[in-house]
Amino acid sequence: MIREISVKGLRSPELLVASVLNKMKDGLLVIDTDGEHQIKPIKDIASKMNYKVEVENNTVKIHVGKIEASKSINVVGATCPGPIIMVSDILEKMEVGELLEIIASKNALTDLTEGLKGIGHEILSVEELEDGNYKILVKKGEKKEEGPASVNIDEVFIINTTGTGNAERAYSTFMMADIAQKMKLKPTIFLMLDGASLAQKGECDKVKHPVFPKLSELVKGVLNSGVKIYVCELSAEFRGINQKNLEEGFEIAGAPTFFNYLSKPNVRPVWL
């Protein structure tokens, strides 16, 4: 069972959350909050009650117990865009609000979570299994219909297609991410085509312009500040880059992640 509540505007949200949790025997409690001042007491009370808590933006998810999915699918082994197509086909036949359990490998994880969110479904939980695969629980949502309302641009999607062979563009990719953060624009980096070369272990270590720090140092800085760096799965595969020689902190993703970012109204793409 999934219970979704809002504690917006409440002075003591933890009191309400505790009452709700007391009555829940299993499932997931999803709480919409006003922000950090409400999230903290909620997290505290949930931890006190020994529940696992996840926070995403202003939403807190408390795992009370098992959640029964009405359907399940295993997409381990399929490569981009296979998993999202297989999952979308199943979701198409399901009712809004129904739950689907997906077992996927690491390669497809970001694509599925980002891609499905982009289509309007809700990712309820992601759990790493003992065999290294992941269990994703998705709630079928309704198709997103957004009106022509004006939206503030608060994210940039920096796409590098040239790689280490073009040092200036490579440097720009990570410098722009840094500057964007300082301007309160959330950056996300996507490496595709030749850009995927930046993801090869040790590759950015080899790029050093006399007047700039090593490229790898910039990359580390950007990663440490929480910026996501995605690498196109197919571009990586074309270039012999896989989980084994992938630079630490980089994540393999694919077309669904790419298009999800490009279709967000609050995101501007930067092509390099």
Binding site: E4, S6, S19, V20, G97
Partner: protein, 227 residues
């Protein structure tokens, strides 16, 4: 003990003038008890509660029988409300808030049933034929006090009520209880005071049916010790 019996006991123990009301939000026609009739003329959700409470009627109301869009929207019956209602700007125009931002902020925080509801079903609790999503007791604050004490009797804690003076019997007393699964109290709103005639001395308590048995047990206990 079934709900009807518990409902009767609740009435007796709290010495209610009118019965408590059970409200169910039916997702489809199949969830509406067969013998229940559709309401004839469109009225407000809060007025429907009073019909069940004061006239003892059992009935249901789909979208076209809800004349208050705010109420129908809060309980999931109306899915695409007019823009001023959905954003909250309506309540700024009605004079409830100094700024439009205040109105928007309030409406954003109002409990709401997100899933699509086919109809709302009403019956006096002592004669109900369904498992209600919310049980509503409209009473004096003194009787409310006993009810809150009964709610806390088994597990303790604090009773927390939240309301904003708008969308009261719909959002605070039905949507909040259904969505959260816990009790709430509310003071009514302009509409429910004016059109549904909630008396000046009355306030509204609502709780899920899962609390009913514990409440009745606690009230019996209180009766024994406090008379």
């Amino acid at each position: 003990m079934d709900i009807k019996e518990l409902g009767k006991k609740l009435e007796e123990l709290l010495e209610l003038e009118y019965p408590a009301v059970g409200v169910k939000l039916a997702k489809s026609e199949d969830e509406v008890p067969k013998e229940y009739e559709e309401l004839e003329e469109p009225i407000r959700h809060c007025e429907m509660i009073q019909i069940a409470r004061k006239e003892g009627k059992k009935f249901y109301a789909p979208l076209d029988k809800h004349s208050c869009k705010g109420g129908a929207y809060a309980i999931g019956i109306l899915q695409n409300p007019p823009e001023p209602l959905a954003t909250g700007k309506l309540y700024y125009k009605l004079g409830n808030f100094e700024t439009e931002e205040g109105a928007v902020k309030t409406v954003e925080a109002i409990p709401k049933v997100k899933e699509k509801i086919y109809a709302s079903v009403y019956a006096p609790l002592s004669d109900t034929d369904f498992d209600p999503d919310s049980i509503m007791v409209i009473s004096s604050p003194k009787k409310g006090l006993r009810l809150v004490q009964a709610l806390l009797y088994k597990e303790g804690g604090r009773f927390q009520a939240d309301f904003a003076g708008i969308q009261s019997l719909c959002a605070d007393a039905v949507a909040a209880v259904k969505v959260r699964g816990v009790a709430n109290a509310t003071l009514g709103c302009n509409g429910s005071r004016k059109y549904a005639h909630i008396d000046d001395g009355e306030m509204v308590f609502a709780f899920p049916s899962s609390d009913l048995e514990n409440i009745v047990k606690a009230l019996e206990h209180f009766k024994e010790i406090w008379g």
